[in-house]
């Protein structure tokens, strides 16, 4: 499929705040494309516009300006959401339904044909590893189980695009790893996954590409490896260097009882890169504020 899963062009969202209707810009001229069958991470500190962007993609909010498309269809059209599954952050479901009833309910809401509902429900319940607990009431589920049954309801109508808002928030490491495995399995099945998360270490190993938002603006976007590599530096891991240098190092290493294995580019962790970018933006913003303040006075 050549059409991007999500195409966002010059998206801006302003909220009116207070009685005077003061404009608060949540998303600022955002341009973004998420390719088909890609795992895409949307990163940013609180208030950076991630959730607003997700809500606009889902058609739950109207953009002030700009456009947003899902597989070529304007996202505000209800029809565009037929190919979308969504898991909100810290989901709450009807506590009196069993997990299976809940997934069935959403399957019916998405107009899954009656003849296929049982198979669809069983399939996603199995995919998220909830087969044993599926007939228990949702009210008895742990946080991790809630996330997994939430994931099942988002997948039951076999959407091509799956959007997960903080899917591992409040979930223990094992549960997080299980959710990461499900995301990888979705990619293997040809699905596109957009996820927002604060658990950057997990995103790093999971996402094909990421975008960093700060104060509604796109700060960086690209493949995780491209973003976190330090291009102007190399680290000597074990073997390598120029022929002479390598020989000298190797001789030294051999003399010391070691083996030079390979040379690779040193990496920043995604956490470190993210924090560096955010701190840099914060400093720039603070400087801008000071400058504006001094100009006014």
């Amino acid at each position: 499929m050549n059409t991007p899963a999500i195409r966002i062009k010059n998206l801006t969202k302003d909220f009116s705040v207070g009685m005077r209707g003061v404009k608060l810009r949540a998303v600022d001229d955002l341009c973004l494309e998420v390719g088909d069958n890609e795992i895409f991470g949307l990163l940013g500190p609180n208030g950076s516009g991630k959730s607003t962007t997700i809500k606009i993609i889902l058609g739950l909010l109207e953009a002030s300006t700009g456009t947003c498309e899902i597989y070529g269809k304007p996202s505000k059209q209800v029809d565009a959401r037929r190919s979308v599954g969504f898991l909100p952050e810290a989901p709450y479901f009807y506590r009196y339904l069993t997990g299976r009833e809940l997934v069935r309910y959403y399957a019916r809401m998405c107009m899954v044909p009656r003849a296929k509902i049982d198979a669809a429900v069983n399939s996603v319940v199995e995919l998220v590893g909830m087969t044993e607990a599926a007939d228990r009431r949702v009210g008895t589920y742990s946080k991790g189980m809630l996330q997994r049954i939430g994931l099942a309801q988002s997948l039951v109508h076999d959407p091509q695009l799956v959007m997960l808002d903080e899917p591992t928030a409040g979930v223990d490491p094992l549960g997080s790893a299980a959710i990461a495995d499900i995301v990888r399995e979705l990619k293997r099945r040809g699905k596109t996954v957009l996820l927002s998360s604060h658990l950057l270490a997990q995103i790093e190993g999971l996402c094909d590409r990421v975008a960093i938002l700060h104060r509604g603006k796109l700060v960086r976007e690209g493949r995780v490896d491209d973003l976190v590599e330090e291009k102007d530096a190399e680290s000597l891991v074990v073997e390598g260097l120029s022929a002479e240098g390598r020989a000298a190092v190797e001789a030294t290493i051999q003399a010391q009882g070691g083996i030079l294995a390979r040379i690779e580019k040193p990496r920043l962790s995604l956490d470190a890169y993210f924090l560096k970018e955010v701190h840099q933006r914060e400093s720039e913003h603070a400087a801008q504020q000071v400058k504006t303040g001094s100009q006014k006075s």
Partner: protein
């Protein structure tokens, strides 16, 4: 097919809304209090009202139905709406291919189904009490009192219950409209109760403009009289149940039902206008 799908989604949302509502302690408490109040009218048998006792019980029952029904209609609709928003189940729901109007219609129908159960239970209890007291009166006064016709027209007790249910529907739609732009439960409940009072006293505006000369003032007052439905139209219990000579024609009941339906649809559509722009 699309319309059929729409109805299916509305039915599903209404079903879960109703289930959620009947599981609330508030509903069950209010239902028990209402039943207890209607049933307590049997204690009036110690007063010798004669056939007037039946009217007293009926007025008492209708009063309880209106009073507790209005409270339930406003509070349950508010709570059912805000529960979905605060718990973010609305987010999960509206992220599916579900129109916001379908969501609102489902919420309304769920609340309206709740009010149907409430009205039906109270009407059944009231009819039971009336039947029991009527039998006691007939045993005491003899069958001669039936020469002018039955003491109570039980069918009409249910017609009254039906009309109250229609009125609760308008009230639920008004509450949904207020909730569509309100941010808190409390604000919604208070404003909706104010609107209820205005609707109850709306005949004053109608009296006012009927005596006014044509002009802007009359137009404005008439406009106000049209914006708010006239709830006094539904208070026809006496005429329905006891006034044998001037029984209310079925066409009047149907016209009232249509009147209620028009206001209900109008307020749901107004709620949709607000809800479309609301951040969830």
């Amino acid at each position: 097919m699309s319309l059929l799908n729409s109805f299916t989604r509305i039915r599903l949302i209404a079903g879960t809304t109703f289930l959620e509502a009947v599981r609330q302690k508030f509903f069950n408490s209010l239902l028990i209090i209402s039943i207890a109040l209607v049933a307590s009218s049997t204690f009036f048998q110690q007063f010798d009202f004669g056939t007037g006792e039946l009217k007293f019980i009926t007025d008492f029952g209708f009063g309880a139905l209106f009073f507790f029904g209005s409270i339930l209609s406003i509070t349950a609709t508010t709570q059912l709406f805000f529960n979905e928003i605060e718990n973010r189940t609305a987010l999960t729901m509206l992220a599916k291919p579900v129109y916001k109007l379908e969501f609102l219609a489902g919420k309304f129908l769920g609340a309206h189904l709740l009010m149907l159960s409430f009205s039906l239970v109270i009407t059944l209890v009231l009819s039971g009490i009336l039947y029991w007291r009527e039998a006691a009166l007939l045993a005491r006064l003899g069958e001669d009192v039936l020469l002018d016709g039955p003491l109570v027209r039980y069918g009409d007790v249910f017609v009254f219950g039906f009309l109250q249910w229609i009125k609760f529907g308008i009230l639920a739609a008004i509450t949904l409209f207020v909730a569509s732009f309100s941010n808190t439960n409390l604000y919604t409940i208070i404003v909706s109760f104010f609107v209820l009072i205005i609707c109850q006293l709306q005949y004053i505006a109608r009296d006012a403009y009927s005596g006014m000369e044509a002009g802007l003032e009359r137009f404005l007052v008439m406009g106000l009289g049209l914006i708010f439905p006239n709830f006094q139209l539904f208070n026809i219990g006496d005429q329905l149940v006891f006034d044998v000579e001037q029984a209310l024609p079925l066409t009047t009941v149907l016209r009232l039902a249509v009147y209620g339906l028009i206001y209900t649809c109008a307020f749901i559509l107004l709620a949709q206008v607000n809800f479309r722009r609301r951040e969830i």
